[in-house]
């Protein structure tokens, strides 16, 4: 799902970063009008009608945000207001978040899009106020009487357009919610706002096309079963070429113990494919050595879930395949690959939406260590870094970190594993065992305070390139700092969207830094056979470090 390189004529990093966070427009924020034509590069194309039709969603049609007429259904206003009222009754989160913000501003400069653009409506507090102001005016008594004095705005077509612009300019990263004294989560507000927009057919193609694909084929990229198998065969050949060893990958195998599900980006795009190769090497090693009985699925061939950027119902539809397939194949538990928003879904929604888990699933137990994953006792799904960290801890994986010596590594905490799960130590533990050169980025930019790649939640498309680079500023700048300070040349991460969106961010803000999955680095270091000699890493680059040119040393 990657965007191309930096387009010609794009501003330089110095130009793009000349934002003044302190300057605000003279005019207040209540005027909703947006010049879409003048702001090309900062918004995403609408969903194609065919995708909406396939998913049986509202108001399929061809249109463009630059059109004057957005072809809304005639009763759009009633639909939105009823939709809001309905969601206020269904989500306590929404009701609370509409009512208790004190506009203290603690969240205001926590959003990467605000830091990179200086646009005050990208302060999380104002993003939420865009919706709150309508709520106050249209749905509360005080607001109906006092109107603008109570901070209310009338719901107009211009407001909807403004919502389209700003709620598809939030990556639902939850950074703001860490800093809010009441835990107001603008990501949650954005999720509800997107549900509302979907009611009248306002959505973006980069979300809905993957969702439609996933519904049909089982994965976002629309890879049909034969192509899925072909792609994997191709990667196996590639592994053989680079490592001199060809793993076996069972697909749709009944009676396997473990079903492995990873985002389809891993099966498709560079550099995520190297992570996939890493899994294959690891699993095959475990199979040969300990008889690991695993399988992938061509039906549940997507770990990610673009329903998360659409509506809770869509999350449930797409996610359902995981348990369905686990039941059909009769596995004992599910192992999930490196992915960010996938793990938000698995950790916070899956069991609630599609559970209880099928009865053939058991509390996950590592086949090779005494570990029982009681933290996954109900979902029966384990994160790959939990699985691997446990193996390393129990000395089940012979590792030669010097094979990664050409890499000087830092780690990007992806938003969802960070702030919707709290997965911080496992990937670091793996990296520290698989690499000799590892450093963390500055504290305000990692762990719970980590910055988004700028392209999550469906925004990682080419037409939105400027906004992505702006949103990528805080992350890219921290990487640049590490590059200068420690000569870092690899940014590792555990998210397939990151693997698509961080390369352009690095190319732009910290040129020379590559992006790699944690399991790619692990597999480089993994000694598959005793005395094994490897010449190349998974990318086919020679392992030996010759007078490596790094840009500065510690």
């Amino acid at each position: 799902m990657s965007g191309g390189g930096t387009p010609k004529g794009f501003p330089t990093p110095e130009e793009l970063a000349s934002v003044d966070l302190q300057s605000v427009p003279i005019k207040g924020w209540m005027d909703p009008r947006i010049n879409f034509e003048g702001r090309r590069g900062t918004w995403s194309y609408p969903a194609a009608a065919k995708n909406l039709r396939y998913l049986k969603m509202h108001n399929p049609r061809e249109w463009s945000p630059t059109d004057e007429d957005w072809k809304l259904p005639p009763d759009w206003k009633k639909t939105i207001l009823n939709g809001m009222a309905d969601r206020l009754e269904r989500f306590r989160s929404f009701k609370i978040m509409m009512d208790i913000c004190v506009r203290c501003g603690a969240c205001s400069d926590k959003c990467h899009f605000f830091i990179g653009s200086g646009d005050p409506k990208n302060m999380p507090v104002l993003r939420a106020e865009l919706l709150r102001s309508i709520y106050r005016r249209e749905l509360t008594t005080v607001g109906k009487i006092l109107g603008g004095l109570a901070g209310g705005r009338e719901l107009t077509v211009d407001v909807l357009k403004e919502w389209y612009y700003y709620f598809f300019q939030c990556t639902e990263c939850r950074r703001c919610s860490v800093f809010c004294p009441y835990g107001i989560d603008t990501a949650e507000v954005t999720m509800i706002a997107r549900e509302l927009l979907n009611l009248v057919g306002l959505n973006i193609n980069w979300v809905l096309e993957p969702a439609a694909n996933c519904q049909r084929t089982g994965n976002h990229l629309g890879i049909e079963p034969h192509a899925f198998v072909d792609n994997i065969d191709f990667f196996l050949d590639e592994i053989e070429e680079n490592v001199g060893y060809k793993p076996e990958v069972p697909i749709n195998k009944k009676g396997a113990d473990v079903l492995f599900i990873t985002p389809s980006g891993d099966v498709f795009a560079d550099p995520a494919i190297y992570t996939l190769m890493g899994y294959f090497l690891l699993f095959d090693f475990l199979k040969k050595k300990h008889g690991f009985n695993w399988t992938m699925s061509a039906y549940a061939s997507e770990g990610g879930n673009f329903g998360l950027f659409t509506s809770n119902e869509m999350v449930k539809r797409l996610n359902a395949k995981m348990y369905r397939e686990a039941e059909r194949l009769g596995v004992k538990w599910i192992l999930g690959g490196e992915c960010g928003h996938m793990w938000r879904v698995v950790n916070q929604y899956m069991d609630t939406m599609n559970g209880p888990s099928p009865s053939n699933l058991v509390i996950p137990e590592s086949p090779f260590t005494p570990t029982i994953f009681t933290n996954a006792a109900s979902t029966k799904m384990v994160h790959i870094t939990e699985f691997t960290a446990d193996l390393i801890k129990h000395k089940k994986l012979p590792l030669d970190p010097s094979r990664n010596d050409r890499y000087r590594v830092t780690f990007h905490d992806s938003c969802n594993p960070a702030r919707a799960m709290g997965l911080f130590e496992e990937p670091r533990y793996i990296l520290q065992n698989a690499c000799n050169n590892f450093w963390d980025m500055p504290r305000s930019t990692i762990r719970e305070s980590t910055f988004c790649c700028g392209g999550g939640a469906g925004l990682g498309n080419d037409e939105n390139f400027e906004m992505r680079m702006r949103g990528g500023l805080p992350r890219g700048n921290a990487v640049r700092y590490m590059q200068k300070k420690h000569g870092v040349n690899v940014l590792s991460c555990i998210c397939a969207i990151d693997k698509a969106t961080l390369p352009p961010v690095c190319d732009y803000w910290a040129p020379g830094v590559e992006v790699a999955g944690v399991h790619e680095l692990l597999a480089n270091a993994l000694v598959i056979k005793e005395g094994e000699v490897r010449e190349n890493n998974l990318r086919g680059e020679p392992l030996a470090v010759e007078s490596d040119q790094t840009e500065g040393q510690d």
Partner: protein, 339 residues
């Protein structure tokens, strides 16, 4: 604009207060019935608002995790910033409510040339909020000396602690200084910080003005000669108020400052349930803070879990039948082959 509206509103309330202070005929109404009404409105309003929130279910368990989760035995979990147990949640909520844990994390982002993005520590908002809220609580408790006869031990105790430094006669309360500093800071930053001024509504300035009004009139009554009031009479009135006794007399000649003070408080009681001040109740119900991050271990139930249409395996196999056969994957329904 927002500031002006808030000031006008505040000026109006002040006008009412002065009017009441100067027209003794209004005292029985504003010294009894209006505060009673305000109190009932406050209690009823707060309960109603909380019940309204609570009436909406919590479909999903969505804590914001701000520390390591509990996973493998040898990895130390962050029990308070990412709780997995009820005890942990209680701890997290206590930290949040008593010490404003999240606000304490605050940083300030700046984009310098280079470009270089810097994040400075920024604890003033936290300090101002702590100074205000804690002083407010202590001052409220101190006031129980007026509401109870004999004065309860905690109120007298707090008062003597609070006046510990014995500066001036009557002793200056530390909390009075802190609350003034806190409120002034909160107001000034709203007025002077361009970002904050931009997002502020009248509803953000008004309560600050009102609270400042309450504190200032309170301090004036205690320390500034021309405004001093007769405490015996004030206590007499206060006891009458809390007794809810219509027969209790409203003492005469308390002094206008007191009436302004009382009208401000009455206004606050009316205003509270209608406004963002309800954050005091809402924070307890905030699903990103008050839930344990244990979804994978214990199933959370959504009462309205919707039925959705899923692309079932059988359909999928049927749709891609030939391609599945071609690439050699097994079929569940080989019968399809003849079809």
């Amino acid at each position: 604009m927002s500031v002006i509206v808030a000031f006008l509103l505040f000026a109006f309330v002040l006008g009412v207060g002065l009017g009441v202070g100067l027209v003794p005929g209004l005292h029985p109404v504003f010294g009894r019935y209006v505060p009673w009404l305000a109190f009932l409105f406050f209690v009823g309003g707060v309960i109603w608002r909380v019940l309204r929130w609570a009436s909406s279910p919590v479909p999903f368990r969505i804590p914001t995790t701000a520390g390591q989760n509990r996973s493998l035995d040898w990895i130390k979990p962050s029990r308070l910033d990412n709780p997995t147990t009820t005890l942990g949640v209680i701890g997290r909520m206590l930290l949040e409510v008593l010490f404003f844990r999240s606000l304490f994390r605050n940083t300030r982002a700046e984009v310098h040339e280079g470009p270089q993005v810097a994040y400075g520590s920024s604890k003033w908002l936290w300090a101002g909020a702590m100074a205000f809220h804690w002083s407010f609580l202590i001052i409220l408790l101190r006031h129980f000396r007026l509401f109870m006869e004999p004065a309860p031990f905690f109120a007298t105790g707090l008062a003597s602690l609070d006046g510990f430094f014995q500066i001036g006669i009557p002793a200056l309360y530390v909390t009075n200084i802190l609350i003034l500093a806190g409120l002034s800071y909160l107001l000034l930053r709203r007025l002077l910080d361009p970002q904050l001024r931009y997002i502020s509504l009248p509803a953000d300035y008004f309560p600050l003005l009102l609270l400042l009004g309450i504190v200032l009139t309170g301090v004036m009554m205690r320390h500034l000669d021309p405004f001093r009031v007769d405490l015996i009479k004030v206590k007499q009135l206060a006891l009458g108020l809390v007794s809810f006794d219509t027969a209790a007399v409203v003492p005469k000649g308390i002094g206008a400052t007191f009436w302004v003070h009382l009208v401000f408080i009455t206004t606050l009681l009316f205003y509270f349930p209608l406004s963002k001040l309800m954050h005091a109740g809402g924070v307890f119900l905030s699903p990103t803070r008050n839930l344990a991050n244990n979804n994978r271990a214990r199933r959370h139930v959504n009462p309205w879990n919707p039925e959705v249409e899923v692309h079932e395996y059988d359909h999928w196999e049927h749709e891609f039948h030939d391609k599945i056969v071609a690439c050699g994957l097994p079929l569940d329904n080989p019968a399809d082959e003849e079809a």
